[in-house]
């Protein structure tokens, strides 16, 4: 297994990573003997009514760690447990938000902790089957999950009578095939059903009509991995961490220009100064933070002057950004914001599923405009185009959030770094040296433009 870069071991705020680093923690026997594993599953199956489990999760205040931050207990309560016919838990393990590696960190370190949470969720909502949609490139986590599921079956925790309870439970894996859009829950469901991954319009919501037309609970890996702790210690104990509206801890993957990149468990409400400068060691000597993405590349950027922003979702919303996926990308002052934004727009243009016109066309327009600006062919006109495209991508004009995310990159970099854009577009200069992010046309859209 790869070296651990990030949080592990005993610390007051380690809910998820407390036992990470224990040798062979990925083995069921070790997870049980050392980390108190499967005690929570036994407790819910034998001692708790489903409504009480939902109650504890609600009390914990846990919010989805995938990006949207929806209240987990509330989501669980949307499923009518007593409705006849099959229901499913579908796990979003298609982690692909740029700068985000925390689900991989969990799956490689403690696959059973996550599985236990998924099984608890299934029992709670009245599902007998869990489907894990795991990104196709995650070879090592996939292998570890295959082994973990086999161990759980052998032990009888999955099967017809888990823990002796007459409640059949099974977990199945489904591999993704390289499409960022599958992180969007309805696109993921389409993909699971064997289709092109294009988001559905809602309603109906997945809780009513999800996978294969059945009521479905969709949760992120980290969200489910938190559940065993909440069952064991109580929702109130979890809610003591973090802030009132964003309780608990979350994993933040800090990457880019920092000395100690890693996946750190952070109590919500800590500042980004703590996360970036203390935990991750800040930028290399002699350099300064210029800008950071606080929650994956889709979260609007914040400049160095806002490092003291708190990590809870309310503080980030007040700063006109969001907690997103917890992926913190740090860029130092030797890099150019316009080039970085261009690189991300290429990503969003490439990953647009093509269903909604503003996103399909807007991404192309933005990429093309950035390329003119970066080739020193820009003017006021190009700046105006970028602003209009950014607006066109946002505000619910698309079925899902991909368009918004692309628009926010443009919007937020304009908001905080207007001068750098003007340097490029109007004065045809760049105020930083250093190696810029690769300026290569690789996306089909860009190639098409280049060849037009």
């Amino acid at each position: 297994m790869a070296e651990l870069r990030g949080s592990f071991g005993d610390a007051p705020n380690h809910v998820l990573t407390r036992w990470f680093g224990t040798p062979d923690l990925h083995r069921l026997a070790v997870y049980e003997s050392r980390a108190g594993g499967y005690v929570a599953l036994r407790k819910v199956l034998l001692e708790m009514a489903p409504a009480d489990i939902v109650g504890e999760v609600k009390k914990s205040g846990l919010r989805g760690r995938g990006g949207a931050g929806f209240a987990t207990g509330t989501k669980w309560s949307f499923i009518n447990r007593d409705a006849p016919g099959p229901k499913y838990v579908v796990v979003n393990a298609d982690e692909s938000e740029p700068g985000t590696s925390k689900d991989r960190y969990i799956l490689e370190n403690s696959p059973h902790m996550f599985l236990e949470g998924a099984m608890i969720a299934a029992y709670t909502i009245g599902a007998n089957q869990v489907w894990i949609y795991i990104r196709g490139e995650y070879d090592a986590p996939y292998r570890m999950l295959v082994e973990a599921i086999a161990e759980a079956r052998e032990k009888g925790y999955l099967g017809s009578k888990p823990m002796g309870k007459d409640y059949p439970l099974d977990v199945q894996l489904y591999r993704g095939h390289g499409a960022y859009i599958c992180g969007e829950e309805t696109a993921l469901l389409e993909s699971l059903e064997g289709k092109r991954a294009q988001p559905r319009s809602r309603p109906p919501f997945p809780a009513v009509k999800g996978a294969w037309g059945r009521p479905t609970l969709l949760n992120n890996v980290e969200t489910l991995a938190t559940v065993p702790w909440i069952v064991n210690n109580g929702g109130a104990a979890y809610a003591k961490f973090g802030t009132e509206k964003s309780p608990g801890t979350r994993l933040m993957s800090v990457s880019g220009n920092v000395r100690k990149p890693g996946v750190y468990e952070v109590e919500l409400g800590q500042t980004f100064t703590h996360v970036i400068m203390e935990l991750a060691g800040g930028p290399p000597d002699g350099r300064k933070v210029k800008v950071f993405w606080p929650g994956g590349s889709s979260a609007p950027v914040l400049p160095e002057s806002m490092l003291d922003t708190h990590t809870d979702m309310e503080a980030l919303a007040a700063a006109r950004s969001m907690g997103g996926s917890g992926g913190v990308i740090v860029m130092d002052d030797t890099h150019c914001v316009v080039r970085a934004a261009y690189r991300l727009l290429r990503f969003y243009a490439h990953e647009s599923c093509g269903k909604c016109t503003p996103c399909r066309v807007g991404g192309d327009w933005a990429v093309r405009t950035y390329e003119r600006i970066l080739a020193n062919e820009g003017s006021e006109v190009e700046l105006g185009i970028l602003e209009r495209v950014a607006d066109g991508l946002q505000n619910g004009r698309c079925l899902c959030g991909l368009g918004d995310s692309a628009g926010w990159v443009i919007d937020s970099t304009f908001r905080h770094f207007r001068e750098e854009y003007e340097d490029h577009a109007l004065r045809h200069t760049c105020n930083v040296g250093g190696a810029p992010p690769a300026l290569r046309a690789t996306s089909p859209q860009v190639e098409r433009i280049a060849n037009a």
């Binding site: 289709k195 092109r196 037309g213 990308i329």
Partner: protein, 192 residues
Amino acid sequence: MSVLSPHLVDEIKALPARYPQPRSAVMPALDLAQEELGYLTPEAMSEVAVALQLDPGYVEGVATFYTLFHLQPIGKHRFYVCTNLSCSLRGSGEIVDHVKGAIGVKDAGEVSSDGLFSYEEVECLGACEFAPMMRLDHQYHYDLTVEKIDQLVAERKSPSAAAPASAPLPNPLPEGERGQPAPKRVRKKKGG
């Protein structure tokens, strides 16, 4: 003339029973075909469609949507180098340039003359704390340097070198998983 081996076609025909609805088998089936052939030819996609009782155009539509399905020949070993922001801030541009030189190709997707290698620039692979990083076949490689690239290329060029630790990933499920009881199939009477 069939391009897929008969036992593979049988395996594909058995896939739909694993899912609540048979259509979900399309991607695992394409995985099997790609594993056997290296990439998906129109004939292979048609045969997958016939085996699954789907329209060939539908199957091709799925295959073209996802980047992990290859529709053109690829090298025996594929470098998937992350060039998204976290990696490019830590030098993935130089890594890509070096990979190109080391395997002797000019462009992404081009196969080296010995047929051994091709490379792609890919989006974030979710291992950002190890940037710059890449996936080589079925294994991640971290903290990349030009020396590491040279070593990986040399290992794969030399027939006497120990087999690299990136055995192909069993698709769609490993041996131990094959033959397990299929999940109960739920089919609605109407629609679906």
